[in-house]
Symmetry: C2
Subunit: 451 residues, 2 copies
């Protein structure tokens, strides 16, 4: 006999909402029931959005975060890549401007014998997206069915696709709801979203590149480190090897921003050329991928091996092979001049002489979105040709009238708006800055045996 | 030219959600647009529930609370009772167990020449509802159209109905959403809900009875006083005379709990009999209603006048008149024995001798709900006949085996559950308590010139 006026029920969403609202820790069962009920369509959007806001404002404990990640991961298919003998390692970045490292790292690690099953996303806000960059290569298909993804992995060791309907459907549904209810900005929800998708890839290890600075979602290092620790701990609780590098996003990475332009720069790096910051970060991340993937004794060894694979042309060969296997035109890799190009260019010149003290990195990303290189609304299509090439970066000396950047555009009115943002984003001072922000701020993870 | 990548829009719900999430004060326009957009159906439930949760956890400023109340009030019809010459005064209680004062006060104040346009609600959780009590009178119609409501008011000076579709539709929609999203418990939202409905009645003044104690929604006096101050300030900002009495709900008010039983006790009070606590609270609240309604120079004068109106039978006459005008059987007022009655009764006896130290008031309310006197689910119908008659209250001396309470029931299994709750709810000690909780804890309001 139950003395309560409320009938006995196995699960009520309202109870979980109230617990979280009142700061009470949720059980694994609470979280699983909520996620599964929502994914099935049994729990309505309006209850989940109230719960999400309570999570944003109340936070989550580590066990709650792991339980949420696990429930989201198990809401769909978890790839079983055990038939592939090599270790499976992926890399994920929290998003930045000019961050094209994924396109370098997947073929580079695959060339070293590590399997890289990479499932990526599209551009979000002012940041670019790996899928948009890949689609700048004519013919490249990011929407492979899982069977084809597996075939490409077996053949060349790496494959890069978009999220499928089978992988973590709970995340897709939750993310769409978070996007329209002001509940994106929570490290716990961000962690669960990223980790559920990545661990559904059936990987053994994951290298996280958590960006910080004016072009990152986490503007300050404290927030970035908090998210990084959360993701590392959550992944470790789930039995995976995880390392997180807090890296700089106070200015764009490399010199090129825009989808086709970034493919050009990727090919440059794979040819042993390209800008030094991008090259260094790629080597550092590759070092970790090779080390965690069992292809190198240490990170330093992994970096050396990566340099050799670039110098020998094997990494570029791997990239060309993957592009071809996924339907892309391999000629654009051999001759990036064949990639689609914008109709016009416009040069932004320095208004005075001096030193570049800083750039507003998010504004530069926004300028690229305005040109058509990203989406202002979800439904927008992306123009692969437009973008920005930076000629000067932080610390560089300039004379008055010297080019700072070149805008690649197809619409005058968009170029004018982008120009204004770019002009505002450069800060030029008389003397050079005393300190330079490091490229790698910190390494977080139990195996944080850097070098 | 707008440098932001986001298109210019007049209003976006997501911006208001984010502002509240981040603790930024909302403008009157933000709140109006949200409430109106939601009432029209332009803004979906899932955005409003996220916003409601942010309000629960972030709170609201006084201007925000007033703006929300005003927007909800103006979402529907505001009654214009200016054709009635007398001052319009209402009373609202935050809900308790055995609280039947509304049924006494409306005819009592009307007998003194004050117009009482009372729009009430149904039972909620463990508390009773005025409409459910009125419907225990055979034939009584609480669903009058506004035109009939006005006609009854003109004829006898008081009328008691349920919320109409025209009054504060925003509140009805918001309340239904709050009920299923864990966002009921916010003083700001409670204030806006109550005040928007009450001020839509076209009243000049309002007496608020804010309950505190084990049978109230606000268990502690601090929370009750906070809500009371919020409602008084909000009402005053909207140009009304408002007073709030913090009154005791640590045990049921009066001796009878259950819809028809409470009508019996109402008639007792209007005949100058009935329990002293109920009688005192009715006189105190009536004193305020008469005073604010211009029928008495002071609250003390209003109380004296109320006692005379009871003694002369004029208050009971008014009640009988209102019952008849609203379709109810007036014979049940002259002879409450004709009210519907439960089939069986069961006596709860004292397990030992001593003094009643305390009762668990919410449990007693829940026991009445279990008997069928309230709703466990929204769809449930209410049994008017069942309930509980208390023979002993806090401070009373009892001998072993003496009756504590009588259960009026129609179903054995329900009676057994109610008995268990009632037995658990009485605490009996060897010596009487030193202190007795006052009936009226505080009076809040600018015109708080008690006595």
């Amino acid at each position: 006999m139950n003395p309560s006026p409320v009938s006995v029920q196995t699960f009520r969403a309202i109870d979980v909402i109230r617990k979280k609202r009142d700061g009470v820790e949720l059980s694994r069962n609470d979280i699983e029931s909520l996620v599964n009920g929502y994914t099935r369509g049994d729990i309505p959007d309006y209850q989940v959005s109230a719960w999400l806001m309570a999570v944003v404002l109340r936070g989550m404990t580590r066990p709650e975060t792991a339980a949420l990640t696990d429930a989201m991961l198990r809401s769909g298919e978890v790839l079983d890549l055990s038939s592939l003998p090599a270790k499976k390692v992926d890399k994920h970045s929290t998003g930045g401007v000019g961050d094209k490292t994924s396109l370098v790292l997947a073929p580079l690690a695959a060339a070293a014998g590590v399997t890289v099953p990479m499932i990526s996303g599209r551009g979000l806000g002012h940041t670019g997206g790996t899928l948009d960059k890949l689609e700048a290569i004519p013919g490249f298909n990011v929407n492979l069915p899982v069977a084809d993804f597996r075939r490409v992995l077996e053949t060349c060791g790496c494959s890069m696709i978009g999220q499928t309907a089978e992988i973590a459907p709970a995340d897709r549904k939750l993310y769409a709801l978070r996007d329209v209810t002001g509940t994106v900005e929570s490290p716990y929800l961000i962690c669960a979203s990223i980790m559920s998708k990545k661990l559904a890839e059936g990987i053994d290890a994951l290298v996280l590149d958590v960006k910080t600075g004016s072009g990152a979602f986490m503007k300050n290092e404290k927030d970035a480190a908090f998210l990084a620790e959360l993701m590392v701990e959550t992944g470790e609780r789930m039995g995976k090897q995880i390392v997180a590098l807090i890296t700089d996003m106070d200015q764009p990475l490399g010199n090129m921003i825009g989808n086709a332009l970034e493919v050009v720069e990727v090919v440059d790096i794979l040819r042993g050329k390209g800008p030094e910051d991008l090259r260094q970060l790629c080597l550092e991340l590759a070092g970790w991928m090779l080390h965690l993937g069992g292809a190198a004794e240490s990170v330093a060894e992994g970096k050396k091996q990566s340099e050799k694979l670039i110098a020998s042309g094997k990494a570029l060969d791997k990239f060309r092979q993957m592009v071809e296997l996924q339907g892309g035109d391999p000629q654009t890799i051999d001759d990036p001049g064949k990639l689609p190009r914008a109709e016009s260019t416009m040069i932004i010149s320095a208004p005075r002489e001096g030193f570049i003290a800083s750039v507003q990195c998010e504004q530069i990303g926004t300028a690229c979105v305005i040109l058509g290189g990203g989406r202002e609304k979800k439904e927008d299509s992306v123009d692969p040709t437009v973008g920005i090439v930076l000629h000067k970066k932080v610390g560089d000396e300039v004379s008055a009238g010297e080019p700072l950047a070149t805008i690649h555009y197809n619409a005058e009115v968009r170029a004018a708006r982008a120009r204004q943002l770019l002009e505002e984003s450069y800060q030029i001072t008389d003397s050079p800055a005393h300190e330079k922000r490091p490229l790698i701020h910190r390494v977080i993870g139990k195996r944080g045996d850097k070098n």
